[in-house]
Symmetry: C2
Subunit: 139 residues, 2 copies
DNA sequence: CTGTATCCGATCTGATACTG
DNA sequence: CAGTATCAGATCGGATACAG
């Protein structure tokens, strides 16, 4: 076989692990359908907001600054569809609906923290690089 | 002061760390301008492709399946602007230009691996959840 | 209270043709 | 080889009005 004799690591930690995957023909980055969760403008914020317990629709609308009712509904539906949010309806009048992050969503939130660390370490550097680049274009 | 007496962790590892940040009024997720790197359809793939050494424009075009010349150029420029890619021009005829991921980009790539792990663990579950959800809507 | 429906502008992406 | 320019289609997200 044409593959190197390194094993496919069960858990990726280093770039070397990623190289091993590539050597085995496996893609070391999440598929688009997963990245799209993170890409969306509101999904992560909703997961964070519902990570400590059930939250009602209107509470979310207040909590997440700038979100429109339309996008709140759409994003909630998508997250529920993916199994990242649990939706509970209380058949009262007026209706009461609660959303809560699932364990899988909490793990996603936790996985995001390495990205948060990266951005805390480097966002100033990114901003500086942008300024330099833009200055070169202008000048 | 109104804050809890937990310290702001310098490195986030657990959801508890994230809670501590929230208690201090700090957002525990990366800002939009950082998430947008990951959100883009091609950025991560380009970082991976250039992570082992300099790669030429045309090589990238071949390596990254389905990318248009336009999007390749645009994404390369954005990554260079952010300091994630280093661009080297050799003033030869015909011209030769090489792109290479910076150390900062390699760290981003590495940070992404926790997300890759998450998706490897859960993407089947997400897919199953979607099917169940869609079946409920149809039926 | 918890949504849905409709419209609209902005942005993203691809296709194609052209150039130093 | 390494781009740029232009156009068009698709998708995203916001504003607003309406409804069970």
């Amino acid at each position: 076989m044409s593959q190197r004799n390194t094993a496919v690591p069960s858990e990726l930690r280093t770039l070397e692990d990623a190289e091993a995957m590539i050597a085995h023909g496996v893609c070391p980055i999440p598929p688009r359908e997963i990245l799209d969760k993170i890409a969306g403008k509101w999904a992560i914020q909703i997961i964070v907001a519902t990570s400590r317990g059930p939250v009602r629709f209107t509470e979310l609308e207040r909590l997440i600054e700038g979100i429109s009712r339309r996008m709140l509904t759409l994003t909630l539906r998508n997250l529920e569809r993916d199994g990242l949010l649990e939706r509970t309806i209380y058949p009262t009048v007026p209706p009461k609906v609660e959303y809560r992050a699932t364990p899988m969503a909490l793990e996603l939130y936790e996985a995001m923290l390495t990205l948060t660390n990266w951005s805390r370490r480097h966002s100033a550097c990114v901003a500086a690089s942008r300024e330099r680049y833009d200055a070169r274009q202008t000048g």
